[in-house]
């Protein structure tokens, strides 16, 4: 079911660079795991609703306001940027 092409396609979707060795291993592991999960085919679910939430909460909202310590937190978050220019997050050009 899982061939190398499928592994490469999923890796591209997941934005994961994999070595050839890793591809082979993941192909083998995913095949074994997917074989195991076909167990679920035994269960009749045509009338069953998919599971959504455990706590029966619905549309939890809050006021869109700024926390008092946000400037300090912002500074700490900026300090984590791998590449920064004058408090701006620097990324490679997209085009």
């Amino acid at each position: 079911m899982i061939d190398k092409k499928l592994v490469e396609n999923v890796a591209r979707l997941a934005r994961l660079e994999l070595s050839d060795n890793e591809k082979t291993k993941i192909q083998r592991d995913l095949s074994a795991i997917l074989d195991y999960v076909t167990l679920l085919n035994e269960v009749e679910v045509s009338d069953v609703k998919p599971f959504y939430e455990n706590t029966a909460l619905f549309n939890v909202t809050r006021i869109d306001d700024i926390a008092i310590d946000s400037e300090l937190t912002a500074q700490k978050i900026i300090e984590q940027f791998p590449r920064e220019d004058n408090s701006y997050l620097k990324v490679k050009a997209i085009l």
Partner: protein, 471 residues
């Protein structure tokens, strides 16, 4: 009695009587850490200075005659997937090796407010994915009962730190058994609260519909004090709720305990079975009504879990992109930054799960895998709903076997996943469960899993404390 043998309440009493200071107690624990860590490897970070500063604040309060909370001065450890402001938080991953937490997780903020002393951060499987703590990118943690064996996982650092007397208690997190299974392997008490009982704010997300923070400690009483301190609704976690605390006291004498036959089948080791059956007999002798029940969809839980949790994980871990924080590899264009940073930053188990989850959510496979698993999850939840119409508690083993050898399962992911077979159904249903040490297979601890209705943690604590006395 040695300082590290005191419970949280005893520590509180002794601090008030000035038998010892919070500073002395903290130094005692730091001394044990210094002595034991080369063997155990539970900690990724020990923050001596910060801990002693926190202790001095408590001592000052006591000297001034101010009131202090139960947890004031109690030294603890925090799983390294939970943020402590200003400290590194790695989630056991290279991709976050140098990440500094910009704020406190709500559970940590609540502990700090009560005056608990944070000694450091404990080891885990990378992004809390594993069952043995061997998937940490940084180090192996050993089981204090047998150094050749794993402590369980993913909160293996927290469990072994408690078991090795390196702290009074620890916080862990549980997605499919990550508090209960290491608690069982290390012979300590561990609680996975009801989904929503404790805020997940500041817990690095693995699978958001399953993750819960909970306590690991030496006694049920300690666990309850910690749980009471960290639980409750939090505006930063929309799924957290303020649970009603039932005022009804439960007594082993008049409770109904369900024994699900599916949990005592193939794969359960003989000695583990006989220990658990022994406890059930003792509970019956104490007056509990024992009833065989069925949770018919149990055999599908593991397959369901590994589709649901990996799907959620693949979405949650998309944030580690080499752009905003964490490891970032040099590259020629933006796409290559993503590919290289994630390719180099994540370990093998995390990659495997991201791949499985991405596959289960991808076009053409979604209905057959993710959607199907979510429907099976509904049926697993209904099994528990029906069971709790008949019984008050469910008793099962936590793990089909005691702690296994380091390296024994590391090369076979499916074999490793099977370690979680008795804990994942509870996570899928979102109900609370506690791992209680009830015996030993040779020198290896065995835990009983006590499960109850949503938000009946108090009932679980009461039953567990009564069991502690008769074992």
């Amino acid at each position: 009695m040695e300082l590290h043998q005191f419970s949280i309440k005893q520590i509180h009493q002794h601090l008030l009587q000035k038998d010892f200071s919070a500073h002395e107690l903290t130094e005692h624990y730091l001394g044990i850490i210094k002595k034991e860590e080369s063997k155990i490897g539970a900690f990724l970070l020990v923050s001596d200075n910060l801990a002693l500063e926190q202790a001095d604040v408590i001592d000052e309060k006591i000297n001034q005659g101010q009131e202090i909370s139960w947890l004031a001065g109690a030294p603890c450890a925090i799983k390294d997937a939970i943020l402590v402001e200003g400290q590194k938080c790695t989630a056991g991953s290279r991709i976050l090796e140098n990440y500094l937490a910009p704020y406190d997780a709500t559970a940590v903020a609540k502990l700090k407010k009560q005056g608990a002393i944070i000694l450091g951060k404990t080891n885990l499987d990378e992004f809390a994915m594993g069952s043995s703590t061997e998937h940490s990118a940084f180090q192996i943690t050993r089981n204090p009962h047998d150094l050749a064996r794993v402590p369980g996982g993913t909160s293996g650092g927290s469990a072994s730190a408690v078991a090795a007397n390196e702290c009074v208690f620890a916080l862990g997190s549980d997605t499919g058994g990550s508090i209960r299974q290491p608690a069982s392997f290390c012979g300590v008490v561990g609680l996975k609260p009801t989904y929503g009982a404790v805020s997940r704010y500041g817990l690095i997300a693995h699978a958001s519909s399953l993750d819960q923070i909970g306590p690991l400690a030496k006694t049920v009483e300690d666990c309850q004090i910690i749980f009471d301190a960290i639980k409750g609704k939090d505006e930063h976690d929309a799924t957290s709720v303020e649970a009603e605390n039932s005022s009804v006291n439960v007594d082993l004498k008049n409770v109904k305990i369900g024994i699900p036959k599916e949990y005592f089948g193939e794969g359960l080791e003989k000695e583990t079975r006989s220990i658990i059956e022994g406890v059930i007999k003792k509970a019956e002798k104490a007056g509990a009504k024992i009833q065989e029940i069925s949770l018919p969809h149990s055999k599908y839980a593991l397959a369901c879990y590994y589709l649901v949790s990996t799907s959620e994980a693949s979405a949650n871990l998309a944030r580690f992109d080499g752009i905003k924080y964490g490891m970032s590899c040099e590259a020629n264009d933006l796409a290559e930054v993503y590919l290289k940073s994630r390719g180099h930053g994540f370990g093998s188990e995390v990659k495997r799960r991201i791949m499985l989850g991405t596959f289960a959510l991808s076009s053409g496979y979604y209905d057959a895998f993710y959607a199907k698993a979510q429907k099976v999850r509904t049926m697993i939840k209904q099994d528990f709903d029906k069971a709790f119409e008949q019984v008050d508690f469910i008793f099962t083993p936590v793990s089909p076997f005691p702690a296994f050898k380091i390296g024994e399962k590391i090369d076979d992911p499916l074999k490793m996943y099977l370690s979680d077979i008795l804990t994942v159904p509870i996570s899928l249903a979102g109900v609370p469960a506690l791992s209680l040490p009830v015996g030993q297979d040779g020198h290896l601890p065995v835990g009983l899993q006590i499960i109850s209705r949503p938000f009946n943690e108090k009932g679980i604590f009461q039953i567990s404390q009564q069991l502690e006395k008769i074992l």
